[in-house]
Every structure is written in structure tokens, then in C-alpha cells.
Amino acid sequence: MADLVAKKVDEVPLDPQAGEWADATPVNVPLSPQAVTTPSGGGAVTQVELRALHSGGAFAVRLTWSNPTSESSVAVRGFRDACAVMFPATEGPPPSPIMGAAGSPVLIWQWKPDWEAPAAAAAERAARYPEYMDFYDPANDAENAQFGDRPRPQDKADVIVAEGFGTVTRVGDEELDVRSERDGQFTRVVFRRALPVTAPPLVVGAQGTVNVAVWDGASGERGARKSVSLAWTPLTLEGQPDVPEPSGFTGAPAIQPQVVALGLALLAAGVIFAGGMAQTSDFRKQVEEQRQREREARGKPPAEPPAAGGKVP
């Protein structure tokens, strides 16, 4: 498998047609129908092209696949197109490339067209299911009717942690930005987020890994019925590490203290998560707290050095 190299650029674009993408080296990832667990299915999309960019401060990945029939909203027996990228959320060897496994979680970003553009999807739905009567009904105020599968309006994409099949748990991440575009029969989707994007963090100059899945709505693909890559794709952020290796921190890669903090928090959370689904809310809380700290740290002078670490440049 060819390595996906995130090309260094000054600013990472969100626009799938931006000129910077032309310079990023494409990697074509073959996809297979999901056949490991039930229900099985997928296979409508056989290949997806990946390109990646980074600026040192932000990272973006673009997926392009052939999608002759664009489906952007849901209906009874009607499904939408979707795609997702997945990163390991645990130290050590990468977890199972198909949804991770108990004790070795993965982090997933999933694009859904109706999340990216809710107004357009609502219009499509209204055309299909016209309102036959205008009246106030308390049933419309129920929480499930208000939000359904999209409980946080600020999220543009679904951010999920999983530890194997059927364990997908939404953690949310409003900093993840996403934009899609139709280009003839192709659909292009860009995910962009400030670094670090995951834990263990993607580090400039070091090798990470990524996996992808694509759903073709017109073929009835959803959930476990999807086209998925059965192997991780190595991912490298082009360039030399920005930060010199701190003395007294032997053997460890040179990483920023807030990255260490996020890594440790997610690793710890991963261990708690392994305790069972009952811990899910704790995990989510911890991730949210960590993100809050991250946001605060960005607006403030550099944080205090971690107790276990060496000096901070």
C-alpha cells in the first residue's frame, strides 16, 4: 500500500477544488464489501482516492470517489451517501482496521450530506413528505423529534469512538470542519481540523495511519453495509518535526505538551472505555473537558510543563 503523504502548505483549504490539492500526491485505496459481521453488504464503491495536506497547525484529508447517484437525505428505505476516515485512538500497534476492537479504540470522522447542509436536506425531505396540515402538536417538541440522529446542531460531521462492531459512540467535535462537492459523477469530501487530530497524535515527520469507508445511499448502504478498506493506509505529515527533542525525555518523539496531555487523556479514557458501554458518558465527558482545555490553552501563553516531561522549548 502506498503511503499517504500530507503535503505541507501554508494554509490548509476546506474547498475540495482548491489548487493546493492538485499538488498533493493521490493514493488510491481499494474498497471491499463489509463481510466480517452481520448484516454484511456494501461494495458499490470499489475505490477511493485520498489526498492530504497540512500546515503544521491544521490537517485536512480529501476523499474522492465515483458516485453516479447522489443521495443526500434519508427516507423510508432511502439512504444517504456517506464517507468516513478512521484513526487509531490507542498507542502501540494499530487496532483492527475494521472498527477497532475492545481495548483498542478508533476515532472516526463521518461525513453525512444532511449534516453538512441541513437546510438543503430539509427542503428535499419536505418535498418528499409534504406537510399536510399546519398545526401545533406537542409530539413535535419531543427530544427525539427535535434532534433525532443529530443531537448537536454545531457539529458538521459525526465524530465517533468505536471499539469494535456495534460500539459506535458519538463524542462530538465542533472543531472538525467538512465540505463536500459534486464534480461530475465524483463526490469529493474534505475533512479539516486543527492539529492534533487524534490520540496518539498525528505528528509532523512521524508515521501515522488512516482507514476509510464509503457508503452509497442509492445501493441501500448504511451502517455495517458499506465499502471498506481492509487495511490501514500509512499516513505521514510532510516535513521535519517543528520542535527539537527535549532533553531528559529519551526515546520519546518530540511532541508538544498539550499533545502529550491529549494523548494521555484519550489513552486513559480508552482504558476506561474498555470497561464497558456504561463508561461511555465518562469517556465523552473527558474528551469534552480535554477539548475545552485545548481551546483555553490556545488563547493563553504556553501551558506549564507536564510534571513527567522535560523542559519545554
Partner: protein, 375 residues
């Protein structure tokens, strides 16, 4: 795949999960002989639970006319065709359940209806099977025939919606066996819509997730029967709790009708779900059709029902249908009354076995007028 015991088909069968029975099992008995398809149950349910946007064609409770009616369109005929001809041997089902007939890579044999299939909830209403010819006499079974089937979620012991959900979003409550979809966990894959043979899981396009009959659990928790039962003007419904055949309690009204008397039968037991809504089959319908729909005991149930006039316990118990909003856990026959008891043994209903009957003279001497026959 784990093996579980399904008493309705008299044998072990394959299921996606290990068998785990609830402490109590929510169950209902519907007397189809008394149903007039007035749809009061349907509207009671709709007003209570599914009156919002995206639920316009969602009926957790519906009443359809057999043989031509079906909501969603052809839900049972299509699945029976997919399953193909199957066999019973004595009381044991020797064919394949929808779990055993699952195609490669699936958890059950399922039909996924289209939007349009939900668009005619009352199609086939009052249409009879057979030709009404000149000189036709009323015979039993009827020559042209039809009957009404009220339907809600079967809150199955081996629920297929539950088995089909890849995320475990559907669960069966330990305390009463009611099957629910966790609205926070559902991601709208519609696998339960496809997996449920009775088509009682529904996708709601406005929210992007699925919903189903909740057995009116907030009422059941307070010892009350669901809205569809309370509002049934024909008094054809009784909700209670069902035991296993070997633990049958003759004073429990549901056990009495299902296990003791064999009067009430499960809907399509051959699907293998051990559903918990039981039907007293219509006496006027050809037995072959009823056997397909309610299993091999249909003819015996009809014979028992016809003989019930001489069985004061059955007559008395049927009077308790629709007699109270509270759940009846036990019943007892008194001289000319039948009494229903709640969970703690307190009386919740008392009705005469035979309604008082008055005959008035044709001529009213007080008013000096002849009386007209009115209804």
C-alpha cells in the same frame, strides 16, 4: 448461533442472542370475533404517541381486513412467499423460522417496505374473499369471508427487531418484557424495520431514526392497561402478563385463555419470534387460512370458542375485557359475577356474567302509548 426454546413452535431454534426471559411478560389477547374495525384503538394510539411531523403514516396500532388488507402493503403475504411452504408435525414446527432462513450475511429473513407501502393503511377494508353469488346462504365457515385483525407490536420474546439491530439499540425490558428502541442510540440504519416480520418498527424521516410501539409503558408502570385497550369500544382487548406454559396460573386471565383453554393463539408462530399478542380466531373463516395465520391449533381454538357458552369461566372472563383501565392479574368466578384483581390482590373490576335482561310490555299503560322498538 445460540439456541433458544420457543414453546409456540414446540422446539429449540436459532436466535442471534442467548435466551433471557423477562421477569414478567407483557401480553394481550384480542378477540377477533368481536372486532368491528372501528379504528378507535388506532386513533387512541395515534393521538397519544404518533401525531408529530414525520409520523403521518406511522401507525403503531392498526386494524386491517384479512385476507386483502395489510399495513404496510402485503407485509405478511410477501414474507410468507419469501419463506416458502413450510410444515408442522403435530404441535412441532418442522419448517424454518425467519432466523433459520436468514440469507448469508443477514441475521433474519426480512422484507424492507417502500414509502408507498405505508401510504394506504386501510387498503382492502371490508373486501371479502370469494364470490357473492345469487341464492347464497349463510354457512359456517362463510363462503365469502373476511375478518379484522387488530395489530400492535408483539413485544416478542425473540424479537427480530432486537436481533437485527447491529448496534444493540433495541432492548427488551427485564421488568415487563416490553421491547423498546433507545432513541439516543439509534442511528437510523432501518435494520429493525427490515427485520421485524410484523413491520412494527417504523423509520421517521424527519428525525432520521426509528420508532416503535412502546406498549404504553408509562401506563403499564402504573398498573394501567395501554391506550389501545382502554379505548376499545368493542371490549375485544385484554392486557396482562403471561407465564410460560409449564408455569401457567389458571387464575391469570392471559394464562387461562392462552395455556389453560388454548383459545388465544399467537400471530404467525412459524416466524419463530414467540410474539406475545394472542388472537381468538374468527369462527366463520375457513380453517386453512387460520392455520396459516395462527398455527396448527386454530381449529381446536374455534371449537373451544363455540363451546364456550357452556363454560362459565370463559364467559365470565370475556366479560372482564374492557371492564377496567387497570391491569387484571387474577380473576375469580362468583355466583353470578366475575371479579378481577390487581397486582396486590385488590379488586379492580366486578361485572355480571350475564347482563340483566328486562322485558317491557308492548303497551305503556301509564302513558297510554304503544312502545316502539328502538335501539
Amino acid at each position: 448461533m445460540p439456541t433458544v426454546y420457543n414453546w409456540q413452535i414446540g422446539r429449540d431454534m436459532e436466535y442471534h442472542y442467548e435466551g433471557s426471559r423477562p421477569e414478567k411478560q407483557f401480553a394481550m389477547v384480542f378477540d377477533t370475533n368481536k372486532c368491528i374495525a372501528c379504528q378507535t384503538c388506532t386513533i387512541a394510539c395515534k393521538n397519544a404517541w404518533t401525531s408529530g411531523r414525520g409520523q403521518e403514516y406511522m401507525f403503531w396500532n392498526n386494524v386491517e381486513t384479512k385476507p386483502y388488507g395489510g399495513y404496510p402493503l402485503g407485509w405478511d403475504a410477501k414474507l410468507l412467499e419469501m419463506l416458502g411452504p413450510q410444515t408442522w408435525s403435530g404441535g412441532v414446527y418442522t419448517g424454518k423460522t425467519i432466523f433459520e432462513a436468514a440469507p448469508q450475511g443477514e441475521r433474519s429473513l426480512g422484507l424492507h417496505p417502500d414509502d408507498e407501502d405505508y401510504a394506504s393503511p386501510n387498503i382492502g377494508e371490508d373486501e371479502v374473499f370469494g364470490v357473492v353469488e345469487r341464492g347464497l346462504k349463510v354457512l359456517t365457515p362463510h363462503v365469502p369471508w373476511m375478518y379484522y385483525v387488530p395489530r400492535i407490536c408483539n413485544h416478542c420474546t425473540y424479537a427480530s427487531c432486537l436481533a437485527s439491530c447491529p448496534r444493540g439499540s433495541v432492548y427488551k425490558r427485564k421488568e415487563d418484557g416490553i421491547v423498546l428502541i433507545d432513541q439516543g442510540r439509534c442511528r437510523g440504519y432501518q435494520e429493525c424495520v427490515r427485520g421485524c416480520p410484523f413491520k412494527k418498527s417504523f423509520f421517521r424521516p424527519t428525525s432520521g431514526i426509528s420508532e416503535k410501539c412502546i406498549g404504553c409503558f408509562p401506563k403499564v408502570e402504573q398498573g394501567l392497561q395501554p391506550f389501545c385497550v382502554q379505548n376499545c369500544i368493542g371490549k375485544i382487548r385484554l392486557m396482562g402478563f403471561l407465564h410460560l406454559p409449564e408455569a401457567s396460573d389458571p387464575t391469570n386471565p392471559i394464562d387461562f385463555l392462552v395455556h389453560e383453554k388454548g383459545l388465544a393463539l399467537p400471530l404467525y408462530p412459524q416466524f419463530g419470534l414467540e410474539g406475545n399478542i394472542y388472537y381468538i380466531p374468527p369462527v366463520h373463516v375457513p380453517p386453512a387460512f387460520l392455520t396459516q395465520m395462527f398455527g396448527p391449533n386454530a381449529e381446536a381454538a374455534i371449537s373451544s370458542y363455540k363451546a364456550a357458552a357452556n363454560d362459565p369461566e370463559v364467559v365470565g372472563l370475556i366479560q372482564l375485557f374492557g371492564s377496567t383501565d387497570r391491569i387484571i392479574h387474577g380473576f375469580e368466578l362468583r355466583t353470578d359475577e366475575v371479579v378481577g384483581f390487581g397486582a396486590n390482590g385488590a379488586e379492580v373490576a366486578r361485572v355480571p356474567i350475564v347482563e340483566p335482561f328486562f322485558v317491557r310490555p308492548e303497551f305503556d299503560t301509564d302513558l297510554s302509548v304503544p312502545r316502539k322498538t328502538i335501539t
